[in-house]
Chain length 420, copies 3
């Protein structure tokens, strides 16, 4: 191809996608069955179904609409931002179903969507600097790592750990991939890494759908125990209040840290969500509304400050460009939530149990972080290799590398017309 | 009116809409009652209500948000695309309630929305080339035809047939209307039949809402039988997986068939939905996930190829301009689904029963197709007649014919200001 | 600050928000607990939870997405329109929880969102002419007034009254604040009070989400009585049909009252919702679909005519500028609904009871209206005082006063780059 154009993926993406889909379908033939509800009491099942399906739909909207549109604040990257989000999520879900369970049920579908969520978090760090084939491979490796990490930690018993781990795992993984893929040639500020009024509003949609349905996201896999009635409701109320406080704080801090006293839409949107991340980790130990609100307060404060100061530091000190600043939105609030969890347990439980709990959870966090950092670093070179034809530096953050942007709806008409 | 302006509908649309609404309200006075749940067991009713209302809301979002925004990829047609969609759907639903049932219940409301869906599919073919009065008349005739077709086929017993038939009926109806309304004067490519970055993103919203809630759409009228527990869940999982595969394939084929290896957003959005259409027809015979995925694979392949090649062929060979290419999105995958249904039944059932089933269903498909083609052709001239003041050729695909686009929010201020 | 720039809120908004959040959290520590479902029958509770949570989510979407995007038809006010909506709603909800109940439950959360809705209605009248600190104070006073009004009227017993009163209270309150805040300096038409194709479509999103989920909004707090089974369902069907008629009428009247026969998107969007407002007041007395449709018909007619004629009259005769014309969208249909309620009761009940009912409800309406007018007028000067730094006249209806609009995503990069 001429040097003026991005390398065409025509011979790469369709082939990889065809192959993967064929393999997935073959694996489904042999390994995946639909859970038959015969053995379950009909009455119980019907009620459970209604509840799970509504929660599943909320999460479904978050994954495909929320994450997709949150990422399109970039001026010229809307088609890729939303399109690749759907592509990755659809593939990641199929792969996660294969890795997680051999029976399809509402629960396994929700778990698969959570795995996809962790891959989408990772994608946030490399957005705009990778092509869809690279993203696809990264997503599949990320999902594999995330599930294997849960196997290692023997977490299959309690699915709530998925929600606790996915933000930290996804964010650290993505940041490492982004670090390995760092492009020397890009100026500190790429000329296309811009936003405007309209893309800011599209991103607002994505943000709001994430923000509004986050209580369902956190509570979906929480089940009421005999010894702890109403845990699910407590998680819903806690997430709701934590998010309400964190959106107020996000605006305040964004204005306070700006020299001209003006809010930055991208910062506000991202920090507004940090309360949901933090409470998602600590939720099982939060029993009163004010603690939830305090966690939202702190998470948003940390996240909004990180946006103003840490992102640039990461770029200049470590040569790591984190497009959606997932480190501030997912990793930092996630780790804060972990500390809140330990602190709350230490304050409430008997000391021996609490210390055991703390040691165990610190280990879990460390193992997950290591796993994520190592796998991210290892994935970088794989996705970098030249056969995947990464776009040139100056085609970063630009839809034109992959999409027919603007122009007539049916380009082929022209061929008809002009070729006599 | 001066030749430079589109013919004003001021004396047409309000009159027609007032009249129709008055007639509808009068008919409602005499014929429509709300179903009183007295006779139903309260316990059962309450559960059923919760379930149906959530499903109803999902479908409601698809009809008013999904279809409306899917159609606004056209650069200058956003107000009309979304506005006329709401107008048509609201009228079609009232008419469908009158034709379908005399008691309003969740079930009758869902059925009315499905009738509206078939009218909206038909509208997709003539979008941008007809004025709202024409669209309104077309929609009412379409709904009448769709319901009468079900009466002829004695389908009132099993409402699942609505979903099986609506895509084929709507698409063929719309294509015939579009064929009759063909405007010689329009160049093969109208200068306003264009898309851009922002309208592409708006269309992405509509697409995603359709895509995400399609499992509810397909499963809403499926009831679990005694001999087939869990059919509703199977339909949900099947639709979900079929759509996941079809969105991946839509992107791949769109890139593969482009000379420059670039995806086309309009094609991707439409083909991504074809999996839902096809599985919606075959769903009662699909019991394993891999068959659902294979159906999604094939539907998307056919649909995406159709976009590149069939649409232009239709235009140049048959002088039929199909704005949203409903033939590729609804008719072709619908017929594919029908073949899948027959094939699966032939493969699984006892031969005598299977052959009976096949003959019966082929007849149903043929009768529906004939009915749809005939009624579409007959409706064309009715909506064409000059008293409805169709817009000029050069005002096609343009909001300015019907809407105050741009400008001050309260135009009348100016009158005050300038008239002393 | 230089005269060319809007007064910076850097020293105001963060301080006020920090303070308020701290106070709220402290009050939550002492006064708010989560309702423990121990005493409730588990079976019953589980079902109730599912139902309430789904309804709550619908309302949640209306408050944060619907109201937020409805208000961004203004060309340069999208960030503020959607951003301040979230800010206000999040604060108003926390305050409403504190004022309403000491136990958090689904019911108290829904009630808190309804209070927030009334504050957002009030905000509609002053949109674009006030800064976020002023809006915040106004919202908190409005919520206080709304709750106190309910205390005065002893309405804590039947929460349905919230929905009946919120539109009238919010709209009159907002209009009075707008009247007090009237800016002499603004020309009758501010040069930035404009709309365009894209902002009209964003507003369409907001409108549709409000329109689609309005049945949940009206029915959320309706409980089935022993003597009136199926009341909740009747309210849902009634709201649905009323809205269907009112959207058709909104388009018709908008076209009929335009000299050129062109519809105005802003008018259509707002009037389409008036059917939901009116039926929300009269709903407990509406038992047949055609009455609901007639109410929608009349509400939309009145509201659409009001848009063309009353808004300007308000501006020129009373010097009251009502940005979103909440008087036409909420107050007028609300009062119409009240009359419909009285009329329907007088027509159906025994005369003595009906007259008692009428006198009682006329008193309620008058007290609410007075309360709202007085508090709105009193709030105006408080929010006007100069320490809150209202933006200059020429910065009205403009995001640039408060937001970093356009430009590079991470402005601070530049500082690094240019400062050696």
């Amino acid at each position: 191809t001429a040097p003026g154009y991005a390398p065409s993926l025509r011979s790469r993406l369709p082939l990889v996608a065809f192959l993967l889909e064929t393999i997935f379908i073959l694996l489904f033939v042999f390994f995946v069955k639909i859970e038959q509800p015969e053995q379950i009491d009909r009455e119980y099942d019907s009620k459970l179904f209604i509840s799970s399906y509504a929660e599943f739909q909320d999460i479904h909207v978050m994954i495909f609409m929320g994450f997709g549109f949150l990422a399109i604040f970039l001026l010229r990257y809307g088609f890729s931002g939303s399109g690749f989000n759907v592509l990755l999520a659809a593939m990641a879900i199929q792969w996660a179903v294969l890795m997680n369970e051999i029976h399809i049920s509402m629960k396994s579908m929700i778990e698969a969507e959570l795995c996809a969520a962790s891959a989408l978090v990772a994608m946030g760090a490399v957005h705009g600097k990778t092509n869809p084939v690279q993203l696809l491979l990264m997503a599949l490796v990320e999902v594999t790592g995330f599930v294997v990490n849960q196997w290692i930690l023997f977490f299959s018993a309690d699915p709530v750990y998925s929600i606790m781990l996915l933000h930290v795992f996804g964010a650290l993984f993505g940041v490492m991939v982004s670090w390995v893929l760092y492009r020397e040639g890009i100026e500190p500020v790429h000329e296309k890494e811009k936003t405007d009024r309209k893309t800011g509003l599209f991103a607002m949609f994505g943000t709001l759908f994430l923000w509004m349905f986050w209580p369902s996201f956190n509570s979906a896999l929480v089940r009421d125990h005999k010894w702890e009635r109403g845990l699910k409701l407590t998680v819903i109320y806690g997430t709701y209040l934590s998010l309400a406080v964190s959106v107020v704080m996000a605006m305040s801090v964004s204005m306070l840290t700006s020299a001209k006293g003006k809010m930055n839409m991208v910062y506000v949107q991202s920090s507004a969500l940090s309360g949901g991340v933090a409470i998602g980790v600590a939720m099982t130990a939060v029993h009163t509304p004010w603690i939830a609100m305090t966690i939202g307060f702190c998470a948003s404060l940390l996240s909004a400050l990180g946006f103003r100061y840490m992102k640039n530091h990461m770029l200049f000190a470590f040569e790591c460009h984190d497009t959606c600043s997932v480190l501030n939105v997912h990793a930092v609030p996630g780790i804060l939530g972990w500390f809140a969890l330990l602190f709350l347990r230490l304050a409430s439980d008997e000391s021996t149990i609490a210390v055991q709990f703390a040691v165990y959870h610190i280990c879990v966090l460390l193992i997950t972080a290591c796993m994520s950092l190592v796998m991210g670093t290892a994935t970088g070179p794989t996705t970098l290799i030249h056969i995947w034809r990464p776009q040139q530096d100056r085609k970063c953050f630009d839809d034109q590398a992959f999409w027919e942007v603007k122009g007539f709806v049916h380009l082929h008409h022209f061929k008809y017309v002009t070729t006599p």
